[in-house]
Amino acid sequence: MSSYGGWLRGKTVKKGAASSSSVNTRSSTPHVQSTSTTIYGGGIKDPSGRVTEYFSMEDQCPVCKSDRYLNPKLRLLVSTCYHKMHVLSILLILMRVLTGVFRCESCIDRLFTLGPAPCPICSKVLRKLAFSPQTFEDLEVEKEVAIRRRLAKEFNKRLEDFDDLRDYNDYLQEVEDIAFNLINNIDVPQTEAKIQAYKAANAALTAANIQREEAYALALKEQEDFDRREREARAAQLVQEQEQERLEREREQNELISKLETSGKDAKKLVAKARLSQQKRQSARASEKSVLSGGMGFGADYAKLLKARTNKAKTSVPDEPHVPLQDDWYGYEDLYVLRPSYDDIFSEAVRKDREGIMRAGGYMVEEAWNRALRSAMAGLELEPLVGLQTEEPPLSAVDAGGDVIMA
């Protein structure tokens, strides 16, 4: 993996790309993509997985007061207590490594390299990894988005999960209350406890809902892909048709000219004839087109296919009612009756099966008894190998099961 190259060029690095070899195509979890600043993860990602960072000329590190005017490469990150601090940009880190100059330029590096330390502003204990890029100008918004994002993951019940609208609204109200408390730092420990309790109580439902959403997203994507492919195919077809049309017209033009040159017929008649054939062709194409496509979407197309199929099904060979077995393989069923149990020393341990392992696995001793009985019945038809005086060849019944002898 060329993570270095990615770093230098500021390209996106796929997390978990190393394990992509074993990724199944059906794997439903999307890859987490982040910018080159993977060391500081988090931040609010847009649909393409990139983090857009907030950036303004008035940026200033609240800790050391260095600002963008003096340090254009200033990069501010936000801590979990929503206080900003500045970090060295990748370029500066690289310069520092290359030149061997170590200056204390980054507040985050300076304060948190040696492990967790209190925030210089609010003195909450922080770690270096707890910093994430800023997306919104207003840090309150940043916080609210992060909290709502977190809550949405746990509180994903739908209207279908409730008995009536009233319950659902109560639930939504409660979620709002929790969000409000967290955003405004009211009763945080109690609220967290509430979330934990909810999480424990609804784990299965939450998982099921996540599953459902993923399935829906997948279906949507497939549908989109299908639509896109169809559109492309239709466009390609259209281009092809136009091309064909052009070629044909050219050909006819040439034909007409050569005819006018060579044959001694009336020029007017020839031109009229050519025009007529052209018109005929065009109308034929138009009707063909209206049958074939006519701007149908997936649903209409499918319905059409279905209709065609149903019609075909009606016209050709009639369907016959179901007959469970259609072969005449004789299984000697009429010669024996399987009893519920046998005095069988070979299966005694199996039948006792104190641990119940045999039962859970689905082994059925009846199948073995059935087989033994059937084999015995089949054996009745075999002639003994010795002790029989007749000169006749073996009976035809033996021939049908000739493999018995060979085995």
Binding site: S22, N24, R26, S27, A203, A204, L205, A207, A208, Q211, F226, Y302, L305, L306, R309, T310, K312, A313, S316, V317, P318, D319, E320, P321, H322, P324, L325, Q326, D327, W329, G331, D344, F346, S347, A349, V350, E355, G356, I357, M358, R359, A360, G361, G362, Y363, M364, V365, E367, A368, R371, R374, D403
Partner: protein, 373 residues
């Protein structure tokens, strides 16, 4: 030349090899013709040379069971002969499999079509079970369809006969997505119910047009099953917690009705599907009972085999072939290559874990593993 060699040479002369159509892990498949009748056949040449210990296990299994089974819904083994050091199986020629048909989006399945395929699958399976043989590798890819639409069970490379009481069987059989929970829990004593689960998965796949229980690893497979069908309770499946590989799952999934996913299926169809996917193997429906299930007798009647959907590409290839019999395109990479390949391992060895798991059943497969796609 002794009598055996003469006999072998005679046999060999009856079949003409024409064109290579595919290569499996342990066999090369050729298309050919019966010299006397000009009937199309497939010749599966087992590579003997590379296995020190002799023949590949699956080849032995295949010959052993196919020689015994003659049924309209089981692939027919027409002949076996040897050439130089190779063993050749002559099989009937079948040009497409159910996986291709399911994946072909231009095909529309009527409920009657699904019913017809299911009936044929159950009929083939019932015949195997009636003859005390477990197939142990049922999946759409191994259900081949003949030109007349008949569906046939193929690839008996993992088949075995019912075990005697107290004899262990390997649990590393059946392709993952179609493997029943008792095998995922490493049960060593099991019965015909394992095949029924696979058929249930195929039934669901026919309705959904996408694999139903697609886990991405052996561990994840069990989780996928539980998520779809609910975590089993002791009442639903007595004794399952005693099976060797059982671990108490961290989350218990609720039971969701099948109706939620299979919105368009008839009540009978869902009833049969539910009975195929019962956790307790002994309670799972048997092939014979399934064939007598009301689903098959209800309207619509199962489609006549000749009317079942076929792959468009397949039809085109066949038409072109019939048009110019003599001129066979050597570079053709159409579905024909995939088709007449009863021994192909398409969904089998696609991950390292799976290979490790399977290597028990297919001990001699190492040689080709690196090359297999």
């Amino acid at each position: 030349m002794d009598a055996v060699e003469r006999e072998n040479a005679d046999r060999q002369k009856r079949w003409a090899k024409e064109q290579k159509v595919g290569e499996g892990t342990y066999a090369v498949v050729y298309r050919g013709r019966e010299v006397a009748t000009n009937r199309k056949i497939a010749i599966k040449k087992i590579k003997v040379g590379q296995f020190k210990d002799g023949l590949d296990m699956s080849a032995i299994r295949e010959v052993k069971y196919l020689r015994e089974l003659k049924h309209q819904n089981v692939i027919e083994l027409l002949d076996v002969f040897s050439s130089k050091t190779n063993l050749n199986l002559v099989l009937e020629f079948l040009d497409s499999d159910l996986e291709m048909i399911i994946k072909d989006r231009s095909l529309v399945f009527l409920p009657a079509d699904i019913k017809s395929w299911m009936a044929m699958t159950f009929r083939g399976l019932e015949f195997c079970h009636r003859n005390h043989i477990l197939h142990r590798d049922l999946k759409p890819n191994n259900l081949l369809t003949a030109a007349d639409g008949q569906l046939k069970l193929a690839d008996f490379g993992l088949a075995r006969d019912f075990a005697d009481p107290g004899h262990k069987m390997t649990c590393q059989v059946i392709t993952r997505w179609y493997r029943p929970p008792e095998l995922l829990l490493n049960a060593r004593y099991y019965g015909s119910a394992v095949d029924i689960w696979s058929v249930g998965c195929i039934f669901a796949e026919l309705m959904l047009r996408i694999p139903y229980l697609a886990g991405d690893s052996d561990i994840n497979q069990l989780d996928t099953i539980f998520r779809a069908l609910g975590t089993p309770t002791e009442q639903e499946w007595p004794g399952h917690t005693k099976l060797p590989n059982w671990h108490q799952p961290s989350t218990t999934y609720p039971k969701t009705p099948l109706r939620d996913l299979f919105t368009a299926a008839s009540a009978d169809a869902l009833n049969l599907l539910g009975k195929c996917l019962v956790y307790e193997p002994r309670k799972r429906i048997s092939a014979l009972e399934a064939l007598k299930h009301p689903y098959f007798f209800a309207i619509p009647f199962p489609s006549h085999p000749s009317k079942l959907p076929k792959c468009a590409a397949q039809v085109a290839v066949r038409a072109a072939e019939d048009a110019e019999q003599a001129n066979i395109d050597q570079n053709s990479t159409g579905p024909g290559v995939r088709a007449a390949e009863p021994g192909s391992r398409k969904r089998k060895l696609n991950s390292p874990e799976e290979f490790r798991a399977r290597s028990i059943a297919r001990r001699l497969d190492f040689a080709k593993q690196a090359n297999s796609p």
